[in-house]
Amino acid sequence: MFTELNSILNSTPDSFTQGEFILVSDRRSDASFLIHHFLSLYLRARCRVWFLGLVQSFNHYSAVSQRLGVSLAQAKEKGQLVFLEGLKESLSVLIPQETNTGSQAMDFLRDPAVGLKSLYEFVRSSVSSSSGRDEGADGAEEWGPPVLLVDDLSVLLSLGVSVGAVLDFSHYCRATVCSQLQGNVVMLARCDGEEEEDDEDDEGSERLLKGLTHQCSLTLHVQGLPTGYCRDIHGQVEVCWRRRQGDGQHAQKKVFQYKVHDKGASFFARGTSSAVL
């Protein structure tokens, strides 16, 4: 949990907006440090977290969260965290064995044209089963609203799933988690090309990014510095609130520069980095 980012987003473990769909995106950069922030924030806020870790192993997130002060293994034991380790589950699908055990969540690898229905079913069944159990439990721990974290969506495009299927998946997750259960959803989408280019090279991830930006209520877009590579300032973050209030939709944008350390990240206004001043 990065304290400066908390003050920028006006969210603390005790009070944060519910029902939000947060999109974390990057262009030629790496925004995964923001995923670690949200993971530790929601675990500290005593929410139940469903994490679809599709690109890295559980140990990676566990090691980073240890530095941020949260123990993922403990959260998993208590039942606060449900972790889908995509890499491990995918091996049984990619290399077919005689005995096929494991969850059906990564079945889309067998035939990506079918879509992400099996992945959504995994999310829906585990989210709704736990919320049903909470109402009838006595003496069990009181958890906060459910949170779904996805890291990341662009790897699904690399594995052959179509853009429409990924957008459907995100829409269904938003409907289930944000609208029905008043929880939050955080998704990471990565992009490679420049924004001004108009060729069809990166059509898939550009379309995915545009579609997701339309659906979400808060975006954090990470980019490199427009002036080039710098060792002390790792890039800039553009935060955009897209709240749909009663007085019409207003989008408020703020730009910050950031630097990632060993135990966190610091955010500052443009040009006020300690390396420069």
Binding site: Q56, I95, S158, H261
Partner: protein, 408 residues
Amino acid sequence: MAAPMSSAGKPSAERSPFNTTSFQKKTRSRLISIPGTRPSVQNGQLLVSTGVTSLDYLLGGGLAVGTVLLIEEDRYDSYSRMILKYFLAEGVVCRHELFVAAAHDNPDDILQELPAPILDDVAIHKPVEQPRLSCEPQDSLDAMKIAWRYQNLPKVQSALASSSRFGHYYDVSKTMEPEIRQAAKCHRFYLPEHPTQSSPTHSTMLQSYSALLKSLQEVIHREGFEVAAPMSKSRNILRIGLHSLGSVLWGDDLCCHDNPSNSHALTTFLYGLRALLRSSLSVAVVTVPSHLIQDRALMGSITRLCDNAIALESFKGSERETNPLYKDYHGLLYVRQVPHLNCLASKLPDHKDLAFKLKRKQFTIERLHLPPDLSETVSRVSRGELAGAATVTSACGSGTSGNKHLDF
């Protein structure tokens, strides 16, 4: 990173034994030391050497166990193949096991071309000031009269048995001797030897890649490289070298067409490779002919699915070969990606413009810098001195700059 080991009858160790710093708790599982590896100073990950010490430095100390290094080939696949051979030769010297897969050349041919290691500076424990020990007679070595302080030190070993150094140097002009090479265990995968099976294994992944993935998993499981394998065996590292993936010989049309029919075959394979590596004690080096792939977005997704990525651009055959700026080097090297596994921040190299040169005993990677151009001032000064006059040069005289014999 690799999953933690689970041995029956022991409380579950949440932290993998490789996530260690120099401080070790006594109650945790014992630290396994595998020859040829060392823990990283940044996050305690286990690192192996790529065989090229300057490349180790660029990647943050070495290649982390469980990761993939992607090398974008240069135009004629000469230097990327050289780095692959350095990687495999380092595995032989460190007594790791090798797995070589190729579709074009027979893996045996690649293994026969490995460079010979330079063994003179291997495993020297003695201090610097020690010339007298060699002139002691052989029969009285146990009772040294002059150099008696050094009596208890171990003898110099030039054999490979105790190679505890991290990176080694190789002599490119000689090939590795067969007895050294045969001491290491090699697994081979030569694509023409694996006929296409009748049963379709996967819809998006090609048959060649499926067969390779299956063969890799079999080797990892059979030889006990999985992290969850029983701890009784001594552990070793498996070095995987995959040559020219994505080329036409693997059955992939990424390099031929602008819109390939199965554009997700290689990326799905790399996803499966990452899944295999994260759960085993192995390292992989993959070379891809990226100069033939027109789709930059596809190259971007291939790069993101590998952990480390570098690109080589050689000057051979291009107009840069005769450019005097590049005369000291053989090509340019770009670091596309450096991973940050188990930590938040990655250690990117400070300088982005790097050039490499293949010398006989070393593959050097240096920062490319342009020295100041002193040629004009130097020749003007020398002409003025030789002519003995400070007259302004005439129009016809300036054409013969630098050639004092024709100076009128």
